[in-house]
Symmetry: C2
Subunit: 440 residues, 2 copies
């Protein structure tokens, strides 16, 4: 079949969504255009505005809308046999502070565009097709990534989820303090038990997510598409370092138990261990780039120029395609924590935020993606996802695969995150062909 | 002469002032009592409340009050010969976030109590005696310590001072953005040119400041009083590290230019250089504790758990009794900055906030302090001030010395900062004797 999508409509919608943001357009002219800075944190007025707009788009096209207790939003095109498991696609529309306009949104608006184009082309699906917008893929507000998909996949305890503290007040001084997810979602209009969110294992017959690569490989190799065979195993931890504070002038160096210098040693240690793990893998003939570790957030108490830090809290995000290799780096870090605690006389505690398994893609969906790529005469490569996606958790309840398009310089979570209209259009066409094949 | 002070009145006033705070009483029961947490930032409602109360105390006793254009407040007891240079004492009442109740306040309320006790004892000063409350000894709000005394000492350009940005909005999201000292002081009721603040070199015939040690030496050695022969040379710098941000999962380690790991290397480097400078001095038979360096404040951008830091800004506070030794550590740090910039591909810029000379005490005031200590049968030692004080800048326009009392465990800038009523009373009596001797 020949299949066309409405690229102008899709791009116009991506740019419209980008303007629903809590930060002003970036003025940094050193960034390549477009430089729309996007901040859209779950359940803020901007997020609710984006949700309302998205639901309107779906109903305008004759799709039905369903929202679950945590706000995951299902845009459904009923198939000729509604009793069959559906074919699902989708992604997220929330964005971390000062991020870009393509991460997640391409998979949501691209999924919707694929359904619309198929409908307009006269295609009649046997299985129902859904585009799903996940709640809070980003950990910004509740401290854990993929909140919505974890609940859909049944890998997060509903009561524990409802008790998650709202961290918005940490960055927004005028935000109410001490709220939990249960209160925040209720204020946003999402009530009912989170236990009801988990999907039955026959709800989706197959699941496929379209996403920008968030890495440099496709662009570097000049390849049109990445077909994801597995998703790296993500984990995140919160560390609290408790030392001894005092006056920056009067507390003598021999008497110090500085929480920040102790934390600095750990921040450098995990970087070193991860680089060494990659080097060992490279020496063993593997890619040697599959381990990544990041400390992106540090809070210092009291945080005054002339006061020795008495307490430091920092977050570690560590991911690997190989759980054993990731665990080995963590074992080395914990040994380093023991050494630093002992030598510096500080107390260091670890809190596991999440520690997830990798996900493996389903052959039948990989086959459908490959066939669709060939039908579009697109070049493709099989690859690993090192970014972590809702599909990682959808894999627990459905056969899963992902489709990547290139993004400029491999950057994301930045205003200059960018994929070309041609790359977005091709990815959406291949997604549409794949959905059609899986739904027939 | 026998001299008594009203210790109960002084302590009641110290505790009253401590309750004029922007943070609630500390509930941390692991801290030894009293655990009053004090936050009193210059020109906030709490600071203005404290100023009004202090001025009322002075006028109630028949002293006159004068405030200059930056809010330095002079409580004056007119002498029999007002044409002579005055004898000055005093300190500050502002407090960094979550600090204690004795830093600075002992010198202000102790100075006032000394004047009141002398007056009640029938003493008639020949020279006028003043207790001075300095504006913004702490750098919290305007990024530079000893704001008021720098202007009194003529070591800060008045126009540059008026242009200092108000940093309160960095910590208080609801505080107005983009204000300068000129606007903030005007809102607080202090107008007029800052050029008028500088004191004539004959305004004070002598200056002496009573303060808690903020160090462990007096307590450790069981000595009642420290008589300060010189004040360590303080300097502070702001460093901006600009790297390359991106997604914590997808930005591969070989492609990273992480601003936080680069900053962590520098935070550890300056700690190492300072410890090595102390070790060299110890090897040369000196104390080996006179160099201190602290990074107490770090800001990370974008500051998200799953985003590689693209920019980090941190403040360095470095002090030494020996300017050459301090400069040597800074030279080593700058070499390290070059190495880290080169090896990590980040851009690192340095901004000097202040870089001050040490101050030397005046023999005639040291003699008066020693005589007063002996008259009170108090043990004392001559010592260096490693904390940095308004007296450091008063030394530019007046013969200066300082008097220290012990503080528990040498800690300050913390809620558990503490000196005993006996220590405060003794320091105040010795101050009163010294003021009387210098004013006769």
């Amino acid at each position: 079949m020949t299949l066309t999508i409405n690229t102008d409509r899709l791009l116009a919608e991506l740019h419209h969504l980008a303007r629903i943001t809590d930060c002003p357009p970036t003025t940094d002219t050193s960034l390549p255009a477009p430089t729309q800075a996007v901040t859209r944190i779950v359940f803020t007025p901007r997020d609710l505005e984006a949700r309302a707009w998205l639901k309107q788009l779906a109903t305008d096209t004759g799709f039905t809308v369903r929202e679950d207790a945590v706000g995951n939003t299902f845009l459904r095109w009923e198939g000729s046999d509604p009793t069959l498991g559906a074919v699902g696609t989708g992604s997220h529309t929330d964005a971390i502070p000062h991020a870009g306009m393509y991460d997640g949104t391409v998979g949501v608006l691209g999924g919707l565009e694929a359904m619309r184009s198929l409908k307009e082309s006269g295609f009649k699906p046997r299985r129902s097709i859904e585009t799903l917008m996940f709640t809070s893929e980003e950990p910004t507000r509740f401290g854990i990534g993929c909140l919505g998909s974890r609940l859909l996949g049944g890998v997060l305890d509903p009561d524990a989820a409802d008790a998650l503290p709202d961290r918005l007040s940490e960055t927004e001084a005028d935000a109410p303090k001490g709220l939990t997810l249960q209160q925040v979602r209720a204020q946003a209009g999402f009530t009912g038990s989170l236990a009801s969110v988990k999907l039955a294992s026959d709800y989706y017959d197959s699941w496929v997510e379209l996403h920008i690569e968030q890495g440099p490989l496709l662009e570097r190799e000049g390849i049109d598409l990445g077909i994801v065979t597995n998703i790296a195993a993500p984990a995140s931890y919160r560390y609290t370092v408790e030392g001894f504070g005092g006056h920056a002038g009067a507390l003598l160096m021999p008497d110090r138990r500085d929480a920040l210098t102790a934390a600095s040693e750990l921040i450098l240690a995990i970087e070193r261990f991860t680089r060494e793990a990659n080097a060992q893998s490279a020496a063993a003939g593997q890619t040697g780039v599959d381990s990544v570790a990041t400390v992106g957030k540090v809070d210092i108490f009291p945080g005054a120029v002339n006061s020795v830090p008495s307490r430091v809290q920092f977050m570690l995000d560590i991911r690997d395609t190989d759980v054993a290799r990731r665990n080995n780096s963590m074992t080395r870090l914990r040994a380093e924590i023991d050494r630093v605690s002992r030598e510096r006389g500080v107390k260091i505690t670890e809190e596991v935020i999440n520690s997830d398994e990798p996900a493996i893609s389903a052959p039948k969906i990989l086959d459908a993606l490959v066939a669709s790529a060939k039908a579009e005469n697109a070049s493709y490569r099989m690859m690993v996802s090192r970014a972590y996606h809702d599909s990682n958790f959808m894999a627990r309840v459905a056969p899963m695969a992902m489709l990547f398009i290139p993004c400029r310089h491999g950057v994301s979570h930045r205003p200059d995150e960018y994929s070309t209209p041609e790359q977005i259009a091709l990815g959406t066409r291949v997604l549409a062909r794949t959905l059609a094949a899986l739904a027939s």
